[in-house]
């Protein structure tokens, strides 16, 4: 028996979640991140775990870790100069992108400059058809000429992305093999090896990002491994993935794009796990930090997956936990427009200079300042003592707006919160429509430093069932990494008709995918149970897009045409409200997700309350510009069975929960705060 450790390295803090395999108990720890010396925070944390909890590094049996090093490389554009090899005639794929410009109403708008400029893009004379058949074979001499040009251009690595490589990777692989001989010093990334899906720009840009972040990720992983070893931890480490799973460091080095969204994905996985364990089957996770606010849809503990998640100015197209940014977090700046109308964002004070009330140089009023000026936050140390709130500074920052509007500071503060929440509402509405869900059936699961501060306001606008604030909102991402399964996605583009002849062609590729998947799991050092999920992208003949429908492997081995087509008709009906069971169906891609489950901690149930909750003290707080006597509770004093009518504030070291006057708080058996609108009726019926 030992300890399983999950670590999430964020911009400001590094969180540890530790599972004691013997007792099933969960420990948490937070230390400052060390962007100046990556790995140092790991050493410090492991040291503290040993001194505080007696966890010796040698006893660590499993280690997962999430980092933002990849995403930062893209945002800061600090990757190396790379060359891109495309099919000749299509060298402008990155420049043209999908043609649309970012601001469609602005005559000055331009697309972001690609990570590989046009003078380091080289066309190779090769071609594969849409049916996967080779038409023009790549020629070694041509490749040699192009790689020489690439060297002259200063490239230190090559990304290969050819047309229709999703259908047949042979040419990308052939050129990769040529490069291994011609230029063994240049690392190579292929688009088919990154994620083989149709749409050349999306596949190419994803491969480019993978190549672009690889050197810095590799360097980081080296330092990280060295840090672990020097601390005496001997277990092979794992890295959390954008798809919500984990992988061994070897895959992280080879496919760094897989870890690029690991932090946000882990948060959603952690939220999903806790939500399911605590009996919340439909939740929207809400993670608000200083510079971002992210929402994800979680059904029965399972997040939704998608592609096209935003990394800086670019989208990546690999299977990822679908997370939508809904604002800039607590740092959004409030201002009066030239006509005197109050606006909030899109400008953000970020974490530097930050809100005025943090006293780190910020002077302009932010959403966090509005909460401080309303006296709803800052009644204890935030961020484990790293941040203190200066209420006067918050009020001073808002004062000019109040003068301009002829209103009190408190009422303007309330309007700032309303506006910030309304723009989050707007973004969440888009997300809801994209997934076709009804928010009235959902709880908002709030975490991150500011999630619990704003959650009730947003839940009210969306008429949601309620808000859940877990016991340790700060450690959700680390927990998510800790409990994430080993998980990898596989896809094979087939283009077969769903009839007897076509379905007979599925068994062999499925067996190959499954064998590859099981081999991948074994490579990761997994020897436990294996779970395999099969699905297919299908469409009606003549339809210009596919939808993914879950399948059972048995249907394919039994060549059950009816079951496979039926799954598609059912999914089509679910998405569009209609289906055409008589029409011929085509299967475009076969997909397989393999996962190896990891042990999960028990969620402890605190003892039930034996006496009513007692507030620490009363403060004067403003809601809607109206002063209220607001009781202030310490989170540790709230036990299962407690019920508190709003208004109230609950303080804890990693967040502040704000309970508006029209909400009621209940502590459930797991110690979660469950906040519901006292007068909620459920709204009108879903169409």
């Amino acid at each position: 028996m030992g300890y399983r450790v999950g670590v999430d390295v964020g911009g400001s803090f590094t969180d540890f979640a530790v599972l004691d395999e013997g007792s099933g108990e969960l420990l948490a720890l937070k230390v400052f991140s060390r962007p100046d010396d990556p790995g140092a925070e790991i050493l410090q944390g492991l040291g503290q775990l040993q001194s505080r909890d007696g966890v010796s590094p040698g006893e660590i049996s499993y280690f997962t870790h999430g980092t933002t090093v990849g995403v930062n490389t893209v945002i800061q554009r600090s990757g190396p100069p790379l060359a891109l090899f495309t099919t000749r005639g299509f060298e402008d794929v990155l420049e043209v992108a999908r043609l649309k410009i970012p601001e469609i109403n602005n005559l000055y708008s331009r697309r972001p400059a690609p990570l590989i400029p046009r003078d380091r893009v080289f066309g190779i004379a090769e071609r594969i058809g849409a049916d996967g058949a080779p038409q023009i074979l790549p020629d070694r001499e041509d490749v040699a000429t192009q790689v020489e040009k690439a060297r002259v251009s200063g490239a230190v690595g090559v990304v290969i992305a050819f047309l229709h490589a999703y259908r047949n990777p042979a040419h990308e692989e052939a050129v990769r093999d040529m490069l291994a001989e011609l230029a063994p010093d240049l690392p190579v990334v292929t688009s088919s090896g990154t994620w083989p899906v149709i749409r050349e720009f999306e596949r190419t840009v994803t491969a480019v990002i993978s190549g672009y972040v690889r050197p810095r990720v590799a360097e980081y992983l080296d330092r990280f491994e060295a840090a672990l070893a020097s601390a005496g931890a001997t277990v092979p480490a794992h890295i959390t993935k954008s798809n919500g799973g984990v992988m061994a460091l070897s895959q992280a080095r080879a496919e760094p794009v897989q870890m690029i969204l690991s932090g946000t994905a882990s948060g959603v996985i952690g939220a999903g796990f806790l939500a399911r364990e605590c009996g919340f089957d439909k939740v929207l996770s809400l993670d608000i930090g200083g510079t971002s606010a992210d929402v994800a849809v979680i059904l029965d503990g399972t997040p939704q997956f998608g592609t096209g998640e935003l990394i800086g100015e670019f989208q990546i197209h690999i299977p990822s936990v679908a997370v939508t940014s809904v604002g800039q977090g607590g740092g959004s700046i409030a201002a009066l427009d030239p006509l005197g109308v109050l606006t909030v964002g899109p400008e953000s004070a970020g974490s530097t200079p930050g809100p005025a009330c943090y006293g780190r140089g910020g002077t302009r009023p932010t959403v966090t300042d509005a909460m401080a000026a309303s006296n709803l936050i800052g009644h204890g140390a935030l961020g484990y003592g790293a941040v203190s709130v200066d209420h006067d500074a918050a009020r001073s920052a808002i004062e000019p707006l109040a003068v301009g509007l002829g209103a009190s500071v408190e009422s303007v503060a309330s309007s700032i919160v309303d506006i910030a929440v309304s723009s989050m509402y707007a973004e969440v509405s888009g997300l809801i429509s994209r997934f076709g869900i009804d928010p009235r059936e959902f709880h908002l699961f709030a975490f991150g430093g500011a999630g619990a501060m704003l959650a009730c306001f947003l839940a009210r606008e969306l008429d949601m069932k309620g808000v859940v604030v877990p016991q340790r909102p700060g450690v959700i991402s680390a927990l998510g990494g800790l409990i994430a399964d080993l998980r990898n996605d596989f896809i094979r583009t087939l283009f077969v008709d769903v009839d007897a002849a076509g379905v007979a062609k599925l068994a062999a590729p499925l067996a190959e995918l499954e064998a590859t998947g099981r081999a991948w799991l074994a490579d990761q050092g997994h020897d436990g149970a294996v779970s395999v999920a099969v699905s297919a992208d299908m469409r009606y003949e003549g339809q210009s897009f596919e939808i993914e429908a879950p399948l059972e492997a048995g249907w394919i081995t039994a060549a059950d045409v009816g079951a496979i087509a039926g799954a598609f008709h059912a999914e089509h009906r679910r998405l569009f409200g209609h289906a055409n069971p008589g029409a011929p169906v085509q299967l475009v891609n076969l997909r397989l997700v393999v996962s190896g489950p990891t042990p999960k901690p028990k969620i402890p149930k605190p003892p039930r309350a034996t006496a009513p909750a007692a507030p620490e003290r009363q403060v004067t707080g403003w809601f809607g510009g109206v002063a209220h006597d607001v009781p202030l509770y310490q989170r540790a004093a709230l036990l299962p069975g407690h019920e508190i009518a709003g208004p109230a504030i609950v303080g804890q070291e990693d967040t502040t929960t704000v309970l508006p006057p029209d909400f009621t708080l209940n502590v459930d058996e797991y110690g979660n705060l469950v906040l519901t609108r006292s007068d909620r009726t459920g709204g009108d019926q879903h169409d």
Binding site: F90, E91, N106, H578, G683
Partner: protein, 659 residues
């Protein structure tokens, strides 16, 4: 009560409803034109039809100020659960060509009609004479596919099944149309639900008052932007290459009158209604969305953060003389009104370039070819696909190069991936990307044009490149920029059979034929000899221009890739012509040496007084007469003489002014 503190809250909510409609549409639509290209719109409009909620980043940006009033008034009353539909350009002046199927749904709250949720999808095909329903060559609206008059598709929640049957019977790809229609219905249903939630949250009276405040705020923002534009009268005109197949130039003329915080867009002097499909069916409405697109772009560019809705347009009015290309009479073909609409955007930008030269970019060239192909699969089944737009880049701005491939007013469409097109239809692409040398030289360079080249594999293949333009007269530049190039449409390039397809927008192909389309060049901004040498060198390195062009157009001499400083200095220190506001191509200069503004104005004034059905014919006769007579005689007398002769021959009245 909605006030300055809470206005953005309500506006965010209303835009969120429109966003939700757009996302629902994109999630559930069937055609690539919606899913890949994003040619659709969604709005929330007042009970009078004025748009006040728009999606923020999705769909076509032409309709932010749309007025559904004409359509809403088609029915004396509405019941909860009604959904109305039309694509008829001659009913209500909202649909402006047949592929745009509009639907609208009333939103009731506790029995009171509160607003409407509306939207349209550009359907790939609605039947008619040509695949995809649109070609410049069509001459009457009856050739442009099925027209559905305004009708209740759902009457108090009960579907009228006849409409779907009618569509299915009359179009080429019925499953796609009906799939898209289902998506539109889902979209307005989501919009209705969202709006009800919003009205419940704010209360009916507050909501209704707040909507007016949203429109008022947008109006105030627009007026603030306009008040910074110097008062004055600014005339600008531009031409469609041909008013009909192998025809004459067609002029769109604009007199922009700025006074205080108001603006008048007077389109008098624009061509008469044409015998091709370039006509815009605006009904002469003084704030018709189609003639306000350019103004909306200008305002959104001059006033960052401006709210775009019907209120934005209140400070503007347009003058749209009847029987002209900007206000055609019933019966006229209108399918290619987007080509003409692009010209209205271009002349609006051109006129503002006189008023605020330090802020206005050169216009995107227009003529953004929307490529469609109808061919046959190997199994003989017909196959049809929209394979994406091929146009010019964005015009250069006073601060930066134009956006490559698309930009400015043409930057909202997405392309169709090559891999999707090749999987959909049996064609083989040889090239897709940016065409070197196509951005006009300037202190800031015009964006590069897109280029697409593909080979067809089946007989009886029809390729349409609708919306093509600028194959004769190139786009203009600003403040001393160099000249732009023209668009090209070529069959079998680089072979003995090479054929220049000219300005056509439809070509029938045989197996093995290669089609190449290059978008028109985009205008530059400022004297190219003042462009930084490093930028010129970078352009050569990335293949945007050749070394020869660097020397000829930019005065930068390169020897083996290195700048020859002395030679460059010698070229660049020579005197430069004074920069003129506009740079025109040789073709336009030559045309205008005969067809001066005075001459063209005389003609449009004369034609305005003739019966609409005569105007297109008379225009062609007048052009023929001028060609014969030459341009040496005094213009006024010569034109009067020509008008008199024509009237006499055809028994028409000579207008008093020309007697």
């Amino acid at each position: 009560m909605i006030d300055a503190r809470s206005l953005q809250v309500l506006a965010n909510f209303c835009n969120a409803a429109a966003d939700a409609m757009a996302y629902t549409l994109m999630r559930t639509a069937h055609s690539a034109f919606v899913k890949e290209t994003e040619d659709f719109s969604c709005q929330v409009v007042t009970r009078d039809g004025l748009a006040f909620g728009n999606p923020r980043h999705l769909g076509a940006p032409w309709y932010s100020g749309v007025d559904y009033g004409g359509l809403l008034a088609m029915f004396p009353d509405y019941a909860e659960g009604d959904i109305c539909i039309t694509n008829d350009p001659e009913a209500g002046h909202v649909a402006t060509h047949t592929p745009d199927i509009h639907i609208w749904k009333p939103v009731f709250f506790e029995g009171t009609l509160t607003c409407f949720v509306v939207g349209h999808i550009h359907n790939t095909d609605v039947g008619g004479a040509v695949p995809a329903s649109l070609s410049r060559s069509l001459s009457e609206i009856a050739q442009e596919g099925i027209r559905i008059p305004p009708v209740k598709l759902y009457d108090a929640g009960v579907e009228n099944p006849y409409i779907a049957k009618l569509i299915r019977t009359n179009v080429r790809l019925p499953d796609q149309n009906l799939g898209d229609l289902a998506a539109q219905i889902a979209s307005v249903n989501v919009g209705e639900r969202k709006m009800r939630e919003i009205i419940r949250r704010f209360g009916l009276d507050t909501f209704l008052q707040g909507v007016e405040a949203i429109l008022d705020h947008a109006e105030a923002q627009a007026r603030r932007a306009l008040s910074r534009v110097p008062d004055g009268e600014y005339f600008f005109a531009d031409y469609a290459d041909e008013d009909s197949p192998n025809g004459l130039p067609a002029r769109v003329a604009l007199t922009l009158r700025v006074k205080g915080d108001e603006v008048e867009l007077d389109y008098s002097g624009s061509d008469p209604q044409l015998g091709s499909s370039l006509n815009m069916p605006t009904g002469g409405l003084e704030r018709h969305a189609l003639v306000m697109v350019g103004l909306t772009y200008v305002l959104a560019t001059l006033e960052r953060g401006i709210w775009l809705n019907s209120g934005t347009l209140r400070a503007a009015r347009a003058i749209l003389p009847e029987g002209t290309v900007v206000n055609s009479a019933p019966g006229a073909a209108v399918g290619m009104r987007s080509l003409t609409c692009a010209l209205t955007q271009i002349v609006t930008q051109g006129a503002f370039a006189q008023a605020v030269p330090e802020l206005m970019p050169a216009a995107a060239p227009g003529g953004n070819a929307i490529m469609n192909i109808r061919t046959a699969a190997r199994n003989g089944k017909p196959a049809m696909a929209s394979i994406g737009p091929v146009g010019g880049g964005g015009g250069a701005t006073p601060f930066a190069d134009g956006s490559d491939g698309a930009g400015g007013t043409t930057g909202f469409l997405r392309n169709t991936p090559i891999e999707i097109s090749e999987a959909e239809v049996p064609i083989h692409f040889l090239r897709y990307g940016l065409e070197p040398g196509t951005g006009a030289p300037g202190r800031w360079r015009g964006g590069l044009s897109a280029v697409m080249e593909f080979r067809v594999s089946a007989p009886e293949t029809v390729v349409t490149a609708r919306n093509r333009n600028r194959s004769i007269m190139p786009a203009w530049g600003l403040q001393g920029a160099g000249e732009a190039g023209v668009s090209r449409f070529i069959r079998n390039p680089g072979t003995p059979e090479e054929e220049n397809l000219g300005n056509t927008d439809l070509v029938r192909c045989n197996p093995g034929d290669v089609i190449r389309v290059v978008g028109p060049g985009a205008g530059g901004w400022g004297d190219p000899f003042r462009r930084e040498i490093e930028r010129v060198v970078a352009d050569v390195k990335r293949g945007a221009i050749t070394a020869d062009a660097a020397e000829r157009d930019y005065g930068v001499v390169l020897r083996d890739g290195e700048v020859d400083a002395a030679a460059t200095e010698a070229l660049r220190s020579a005197p430069r012509p004074d920069p003129s506001t506009y740079t025109y191509g040789a073709e336009r200069r030559e045309f205008e040496s005969v067809w001066t503004r005075e001459r063209y104005d005389l003609m449009t004034e004369f034609l305005a007084q003739q019966p609409v059905s005569w105007r297109f014919y008379l225009k062609h006769r007048i052009f023929a007469a001028v060609a014969e007579a030459g341009a040496d005689a005094p213009v006024k007398g010569q034109m009067r003489e020509i008008f008199g002769r024509l009237c006499a021959r055809h028994g028409l009245d000579v207008p008093e002014a020309f007697a």
